[in-house]
Subunit: 425 residues, 2 copies
């Protein structure tokens, strides 16, 4: 993409009320635009990142047997009344249609998927099933101040699993734990992410969250650095006596490895996995006939990852004073080619040729061919944060000045070497 | 995909109130599920079709220079008040948030994109720009009875172009006409689709619709078979004297080629293109400095295609008494492999081997490996409508019985011939 054609420009001015680091950087660099609190447009650069995150998640969930569907956002009131959440779910947007009926805007989809599953699951032969979507959720968050970390509308991958028994659920639950680790590794945040015990609700003792350490986080977690397990502070506050963890950690002992040293950190929940049991299958009567001919309730699990939040978390954990530092896997482009002497015909022709050669080598490249000063271009490049910067100027002659965004030193390389370097990762 | 693992099953029973052919077939075959009037879930088979339609549209719009973004569905009331459409747009869903502010659910996105464009367009150097998204729209249709042809929530490709002058708009408008023809050709409905003159609004004499002839259509069009131009009946009713077309067609003459024969048909609008002029740039003050240093209004065009509607239209125009007949380009799978003797080990092993070989040849195949009768499998296959049926039974021996969905005769071919046939289109 030629930057002279790109819809967006970087900007220095940003609303003083924008306190969040991720939103500030993403807005300044032209990845997103803020329409209202917690409501963002993804601009061309931002949508490229979001699509890469989406593809990573889709690949890993498909690998774990997921079948993708797409459920609607407009939900009839009756579905939410069946589970009691029309009243109890505290961030539900509600509206009335011209047909005088009431609707919720989907904040989660158990109320839609479970009655749908009932049409297709009736026998043990129909189990297990793993159904997911990547779809826009709406939540009426009154305090949406953390940029992409907490939106009022956001993309979510929500996976729901249907099982004949608890044993099968438990084994799939472990499989999804592995899939989540692969996703967070590929997105570049595994090192700062901890499997964290959290309140589990009705069915299991705990649920598991994946918490990424960042000062922008809304949760506090106790990390055992020895076994890398963490515990969400909310458990410690919980008065429910089924939590032996509470006592142990209150006594200063890791519930997993008995280590006595904890680190207390702010963190953001980038994923969660829940054992639901029959909590949602019961109100909708989702049952199956087992292989002995007996009718039994279908057992469920659910597993979420917010895509916008993941993107915001990557920015919170990968930046410096000059801008964003994207991991290669989700960067909007693989390389940022800068032409620093746009007025000089010979140098421009050389840069154009290099740009076209990179495109022919299937390399995703943003080409800053604008008639602007070297200073502006270098600053913009740091702000946008593409992992590899390629500079063409009067000084580079036959070569290209190559610098990784995350390093200080640059080096001169030939075009062939650059292509090999990018292609081989 | 093994059909024994597929989430959905076909069904014979469908609500008696479902009058629409497209919804009936798509629900019975397991492509979509109806949640409420005009609100559908896309099931695994349906989502595959939707994704193929989406990819065709994306490729052609990118080819026409489009830059993709993703705008939100929650729109602040103030944006819609600026254009007067908070009151005048008659199918706008409205709701109130916990912040006491009012929001519209996006029915179209001029109100969001124009103020956003103002942040990035200020000079003639920033023009033209072609910005689009593929995103969920909401419209509070009180009568949503045509299945996927008129939803209350649906996916739409909406493209907006920004120009320095009318001449540039006119030339891009023609470019998009060509892109639309390519899209409808690739989706398999070009032959039944007519470029149709329709009411144009404030800026141009007419807008253009792409209307596909089907008895399920909501519009009536007058088709000149000689030059393939059509005129929407709404123009004839229009009392606006700027339409010379009205007089000519009332006098029985085609406005394009003076032909005097018309065919009157029901049709559905599968795409529309509009010259907006400064209608939306004016209220938001979207201006630019031209190359003479003078401030001028940005001139706009907008161009829509509804994805769900396109899918419904394909079904309405491609079916027989046994089910859907998908065009190859958007079929959920390229081939439907049926194992008709699932209990016989030798035949099952042969079918499994063929299935795996097809997968290794990168052929998308749905494999009906279920323990069901041949009659059920053949009926399901016709209903689902995958273009090529491959039957393995006790009779086919070393070969495969190959039948195109749209033809009656079958033939026996070897596996290599089948792969070659599919791979070479």
């Amino acid at each position: 993409m030629r930057q002279s054609d790109l819809f967006t420009k970087t900007t220095k001015t940003i609303s003083a009320e924008e306190k969040s680091v991720n939103a500030s950087l993403l807005i300044r660099a032209g990845f997103v635009d803020k329409l209202a609190a917690g409501i963002y447009t993804f601009l061309p650069l931002g949508l490229r990142v979001l699509n890469k995150i989406e593809n990573i998640i889709r690949e890993e969930i498909n690998e774990a047997g997921g079948q993708e569907i797409l459920m609607p956002a407009l939900h009839p009131k009756e579905n939410w009344q069946k589970t009691g959440r029309w009243e109890s779910f505290d961030a539900l947007f509600k509206l009335k249609g011209g047909d005088k009926k009431e609707y919720a805007l989907g904040a989660t989809h158990e109320e839609i998927l479970v009655p749908l599953a009932k049409k297709h699951i009736s026998s043990y032969k129909d189990l297990p099933r793993y159904i997911y979507q990547i779809q826009t959720k709406f939540r009426d968050e009154v305090r949406a101040k953390s940029g992409l970390l907490r939106g009022r509308q956001f993309l979510m991958k929500d996976l729901y699993s249907f099982h004949a028994d608890e044993k099968d659920l438990n084994s799939y639950y472990e499989k999804i734990k592995d899939a989540y680790w692969k996703i967070f590794e590929r997105a570049g945040i595994k090192d700062k992410t901890y499997l964290t015990l959290a309140s589990g609700g009705t069915f299991s003792k705990y649920s598991h969250e994946f918490q990424t350490v960042t000062s922008a986080g809304e949760d506090t977690i106790y990390i055992c650095e020895k076994c890398r397990l963490a515990v969400n502070k909310e458990i410690l506050k919980d008065e429910n006596p089924v939590y032996p963890v509470r006592n142990r950690i209150s006594n200063g002992v890791c519930p997993e490895c008995q280590n006595e040293k904890f680190k207390v950190e702010k963190a953001i929940e980038v994923g969660n996995i829940f054992k639901l049991g029959a909590k949602y299958s019961a109100p909708f009567g989702l049952k199956f006939i087992d292989n002995a001919g007996k009718e039994r309730a279908v057992i469920m699990g659910c597993y979420g990852i917010g895509l916008d939040r993941l993107m915001g978390t990557v920015v919170e954990t990968n930046n410096d004073e000059n801008g964003i530092i994207w991991p290669k896997s989700i960067a909007p482009y693989q390389a940022h080619l800068l032409l620093l002497a746009p007025q000089e015909r010979e140098i421009r022709e050389k840069a154009d040729l290099i740009y076209n050669t990179l495109l022919k080598s299937d390399i995703e490249v943003l080409y800053d061919d604008r008639n602007l000063s070297a200073g502006i271009k270098l600053k913009d490049s740091d702000l946008i944060g593409i992992p590899l910067r390629l500079v063409i100027s009067g000084k580079t002659r036959e070569n290209i000045e190559v610098k990784e965004r995350k390093r200080k030193e640059a080096k001169l390389l030939g075009l062939g070497e650059v292509i090999e370097m990018i292609t081989n990762g």
